[in-house]
Symmetry: C2
Subunit: 389 residues, 2 copies
């Protein structure tokens, strides 16, 4: 992806991480960590049993023996007293080990009779014990910066006693759909909901606007959008025709066009500019081209602003379910379904189609110069998510 990758780097060089702020954990879902989360509490918080069973001193059980059961400890309780040499304690999963105990024998291997626990085998110190801080020691890093706070990450934060985190501010993005056909409603604006939803799913706060094919109006709306947003994303009007006002409006606003036209299909007319220090991403108007350009350049740019450590989709190499052909001078992207057997099957190839993206699990990337690929050949798949806004 040499050329495309270098264009992507150019785009990313034009956006910066937004400032960060203190956010209570209860309101941090979907944000990215600006700083690592350190453990206020160790996980687990106390040295505890990994099993329902009997806590012992391993030294007492170098060989089979029977020991009096001196106490019972449930998961919600602190042990009342230390475990004396020669004693056992009944313990449930998660119960804190009494002082002195250093191993747990699982209940299936123990016979309790008349207050005595019978052990049929030798026990090693540490067996079935989870040491305090075994997952995360107190004070240690629980999560690094750049991680997104989804359900599992929020659980870890709760486990280590984090009540607030340093998170990057939510990017405000103005999405400006251009074109008389969009304003008049003659062509349904399907890019609007797709992009607004995809950007919201990628953590942005999105404001949607439309503007017709009039240069002065486009200039005015862009000025307003740039004043309001941390970034502006436009759709349509970005090619080189008489009605393509976005590049001209950028020039009128003394913006610097850094990228205009990229060697890929679909998505070729993509534009990236810096206007008054703010990034402007100009996406083509055709639905599939619009969305591919967003995936290749737009999403990574927004994620960098939002503080994400990983800017691309998760990428894997998967076998093709059918043959496809790459192009000589440009990269090719194809929407694809993931089949039951783990292969990927392309879903039609028209730049403007809207059905492919809606049915796709992955976006296949064929770098420029990829020749004919046979069924079964491995291909780079960018794994899409549901992107529920």
């Amino acid at each position: 992806m040499a050329r495309l990758e270098s264009i992507r780097e150019q785009v990313l060089a034009g956006v910066s991480r937004l400032p960060d702020e203190e956010v209570p954990l209860a309101r941090a879902a979907g944000r990215w960590l600006a700083e690592p989360v350190r453990a206020r509490l160790a996980a687990p918080p106390h040295t505890c049993s990994a099993m329902d069973g009997y806590a012992v001193r391993a030294a007492d059980l170098a060989r089979p023996a029977a020991l009096p059961v001196a106490q019972v400890v449930y998961a919600g309780q602190q042990p009342g007293r230390p475990l004396e040499p020669g004693q056992a304690a009944r313990l449930y999963t998660g119960a804190t080990l009494p002082e002195g105990a250093d191993a747990v024998v699982q209940e299936e291997l123990v016979r309790e009779e008349a207050g005595r626990a019978h052990f049929d085998r030798a026990v090693r110190a540490g067996e079935n014990v989870r040491r305090a801080g075994e997952d995360v020691a107190a004070g240690a890093e629980a999560l690094p910066a750049g991680v997104r706070l989804g359900a599992r990450q929020l659980g870890l934060c709760a486990a280590v006693g984090a009540e607030a985190v340093r998170a990057v501010r939510v990017p405000r993005v103005v999405l400006l759909a251009t074109g008389d056909e969009v304003v008049s409603g003659r062509t349904p604006d399907s890019n609007g909901p797709v992009l607004a939803g995809a950007m919201a799913a990628a953590g942005a706060a999105v404001v949607r606007r439309t503007v017709g094919d009039d240069l002065l109006e486009v200039v005015a709306e862009l000025r307003r959008a740039l004043a309001e947003g941390d970034a502006v994303v436009t759709t349509g009007g970005v090619s080189v025709g008489a009605r393509d006002h976005v590049p001209k409006a950028v020039a009128a606003l003394s913006g610097e066009i850094r990228v205009h036209g990229v060697p890929m299909k679909p998505g070729k007319p993509f534009l990236f500019a810096s206007v008054g220090g703010k990034p402007l991403l100009g996406l083509p108007g055709s639905p599939s081209a619009c969305l591919v350009a967003f995936e290749v350049f737009g999403r990574p740019a927004l994620l960098r602003m939002a503080g994400a450590g990983r800017l691309g989709r998760r990428r894997v190499r998967l076998p093709l379910a059918e043959a496809v052909e790459g192009r000589a001078g440009r990269a090719r992207f194809l929407w694809a379904r993931l089949e039951e057997d783990g292969a990927v099957r392309p879903l039609g190839q028209d730049a403007a189609q809207v059905r492919g993206p809606a049915l796709a699990d992955a976006l296949l990337h064929l770098p420029a110069g990829t020749g004919a690929l046979a069924a079964g050949a491995p291909v780079e798949a960018w794994l899409l998510e549901d992107d529920v806004p």
Copy 2:
């Protein structure tokens, strides 16, 4: 996964799709379609140009020629009149083709001079034309039932003029965390945010409650939860010890325990019951075991209620970054990171650990009987998403 798969089928047989309802598109995000979406409008709505260029009658250009440019049509406009034989029309991408035109020649290949367009080569009918309904014909199925409405799907619905859809009702789930340690706060309830978030990300409306280790209280809370929710999910108290009240409470409520204990690690104590016709999923209390049991049984069950066509995570086979060992009598699940090169690296192996799930991109499934797997060997990876609640 023969045994685990048959247990999963047993669980799925105990849950049903909820009723469906009419939902305006603007409020349908995250829902699953109960019925296919049919196209009220074709996509594209009109036969249009796929390029900036010149519309012609291909019959006029069996060989190179120059034609007068009789009209200009922009994307937002209807052509003013038909294209007469021997004429060309200037057209922009997305512009409707004038009646009579059947091909578009892209502008790079045409020289316009003094009102005449010069064509240097023969033209085929249909070239660079997108026929009305090419993506989706009017009246045809745009999306099948069982599809989730994320950003890309909402865009397609907008493109075909759908203003409302038949969607399955949002499942109401009561999440009941059991255990004195959870009620007292002595052990942070990390399962609570993880599961509540994962269930919300999977489309459920979640109510969270806690209850201590008291059988009568567990019975009372379960009764209340079953009255309120379409399903109940419990954490903790599901094993076979003296304090494991969930199975006893199910019995006290005359529920039918259909699954109790599954051949996998972690997650072994999982319980599934039907109580008064409602499903109850009992997850273990250890964080990783809780979440693995949710992924294997809980999430598919909730997704079936919500009307999803695909109940499991997207699954692929990826190479292992390091060697791992399976188990003889039970399946093994490992949290794993997806590396740059597309290999998966397991993240620690303790059942109760909370850091692995928070750093994982995938859950690896080693079916029972999987022996030693070397680095590089392919392994079944269930692809996780961010699961932002």
